[in-house]
């Protein structure tokens, strides 16, 4: 499904991601964890095309996508949510979904003139279903910017899903959420997996990561220090060291 091979991203002398190889299978929820500055967000930005890699390859369904612009990557099947919410604040809720819906559907279908100046079609049933899924049913007419924080997060997830991606990147989707909201989010992530969507989850909140992922990679200093099922990761001493430091002899 997604294959990162020897992927590197250097900012000057800083090796944000260094020679990293990861494979994510179809219909799998893959966790990326690691201390602050370990390169998690950089990986998300590399996969969705905000950054271009210094070296290495990114393959989605066997196709090399590392040379594509971000908008072409959406067409190729990558959608994402943002750590700091980026909605179209001055548009109604449903139009936020419409933007994503249109771009994929039409990118290859129509010629330039129809694509730009034709009326924008939308599948209202699908939008309503997505709003229902996000717990925003009946709120489609409100301005996105006027929603509460938690609702905006749900709308962002819905917008990413509206593009019908093969691979969904979630960049700290639970940041700032309370316990109930996190439980809610976990339910949604599991629902998306049942639709055969592959998901990469970058998250600090361990209850969420351990609860929904099939496999986890642990990063430190831009490299992978461990990979395995949630159970294996929880027991790994390498991981505990990365997070808590080496146990010292205090005697």
């Amino acid at each position: 499904m997604l294959k990162l091979e020897n992927l590197s991203k250097h900012f000057g002398g800083v090796r944000a991601v260094d020679d990293l190889s990861i494979e994510v299978n179809r219909g799998e929820v893959f966790g990326l964890i690691g201390p602050n500055g370990s390169g998690k967000s950089t990986i998300v930005n590399l996969i969705c095309g905000v950054y271009t890699p210094t070296a290495g390859s990114i393959r989605l369904l066997g196709n090399e996508i590392s040379g594509l612009t971000p908008n072409r990557r959406l067409v190729a099947g990558v959608a994402r949510t943002f750590q700091n919410i980026r909605l179209f604040d001055d548009m109604p809720v449903w139009k936020n979904l419409w933007v994503a819906q249109n771009s994929t559907e039409d990118a290859n279908k129509h010629n330039l003139l129809r694509r730009w100046f034709g009326g924008a079609g939308s599948d209202r049933d699908e939008i309503d279903a997505l709003l229902e899924f996000s717990g925003l049913g009946g709120r489609g007419g409100e301005l996105a910017g006027s929603l509460a924080f938690g609702e905006q997060r749900r709308l962002e997830l819905a917008r990413a899903v509206a593009a019908k991606p093969q691979l969904l990147l979630l960049d700290e989707p639970a940041a700032g959420m309370n316990f109930d909201e996190i439980k809610d989010l976990a339910k949604r992530i599991k629902g998306l997996r049942e639709q055969d969507m592959s998901i990469i989850l970058v998250e600090h909140i361990m209850e969420l990561v351990m609860g929904v992922t099939d496999r986890i990679a642990v990063l430190n200093f831009g490299g992978k220090i461990a990979e395995g099922t949630p159970d294996e990761i929880q027991k790994s001493s390498v991981v505990q060291e990365a997070y808590l430091g080496k146990p010292q002899d205090v005697a």
């Binding site: 980026r86 604040d89 001055d90 548009m91």
Partner: protein, 298 residues
């Protein structure tokens, strides 16, 4: 008593003429504001490109004796083409966050376009064809010039067309998405460069309308028009609020009307000084434009 009546009639007449001509200022203001809204950058060439487009239309008239409607059409296409070239030269390849570089590049392009026009016309004014310039509608004591009414109508139709493009087409959806959240728009599958380029073309078409309508109502085109139209356009943009299209429309009418009132009351030499004062009044009390809330003060 008769003096007062005469005075009032003349003032109202000035306002009528001013509002009608002000529709062209509104178009220029919309063009500035449209590009600012999309890229958060000022395209200083805009008014010059609009007038250059009108010159392209005029060339068809002088060289091939083309019908007036074709002259307007050529102006629209010409101005759109110049807009696209300006986009590629001054905006496309300059880093998004480098606002000063784009500004300087577009100021350079402004002078460049101006020089080309001066060179091509030997800096002398040329007659521009008008429509309905021999028609005059009587409304009680007031007269409405047919050519100005035509200019006004064409401007309103262009604004309606722009509204349609912005709010009823995919391009409009993409433009608004890009202006609100560039990165998210890209990751929603929108090609940000193509969208911006198309925005320049659409703004350019509007500029072509504005340029030829200015030519049609003034009766001549001259390189001397570039500077005042650029300044009026920028004033309209600021008064309307950068990025606000309704603001630019209202501000265009306002500037047009007040300009004519000042012209009548204080004469042509002082007219533009008062318009500049109006700009400062807005910058101090309503820095975000006519439709924003009053400026909060510390």
């Amino acid at each position: 008593m008769d003096d007062i009546v005469f005075y009032t009639v003349e003032i109202i007449q000035s306002i009528i003429d001013g509002v009608l001509f002000g529709s062209t200022y509104a178009l220029i203001g919309i063009g500035f504001t449209l590009i600012f809204g999309a890229m958060h950058k000022l395209n200083m060439t805009y008014a010059a490109a609009s007038l250059a487009g009108a010159y392209i239309g005029l060339a068809f008239f002088t060289l091939f004796d083309a019908p007036v409607m074709l002259v307007f059409l050529a102006a629209i296409v010409g101005s759109a083409g110049i807009g696209l070239i300006v986009y590629y030269i001054c905006f496309r390849y300059i880093p998004v966050e480098d606002h000063l570089a784009a500004l300087m590049a577009s100021v350079g392009a402004l002078f460049f376009i101006d020089e080309i026009v001066i060179h091509a016309t030997n800096a002398s004014p040329l007659t521009f064809p008008a429509l309905f310039d021999d028609v005059m509608f009587e409304l009680g004591p007031f007269g409405i010039r047919g050519d100005l009414l035509f200019v006004f109508a064409v401007s309103l139709i262009s604004m309606a067309a722009l509204w349609y493009v912005l709010y009823r087409t995919r391009l409009g959806l993409a433009t608004r998405a890009v202006s609100q959240q560039g990165i998210a728009a890209q990751l929603c599958g929108i090609d940000i460069h193509r969208t911006n380029g198309t925005t320049f073309v659409v703004a350019g078409m509007l500029g072509g309308v504005a340029g030829s309508m200015i030519g049609a109502s003034v009766g001549i085109l001259s390189p001397l028009l570039t500077l005042p139209i650029t300044i009026k356009g920028l004033i309209v943009t600021v008064i309307g609020g950068l990025g606000s299209i309704p603001g630019a429309i209202v501000a265009g009418f306002l500037v047009g009307a007040l300009e004519n009132v000042f012209l009548f009351v204080r004469g042509v030499n002082e007219r533009d000084m008062y318009i500049m004062l109006l700009l400062f009044v807005f910058l101090v009390f309503r820095p975000h434009g006519i439709f924003s809330r009053r400026a909060e003060r510390d």
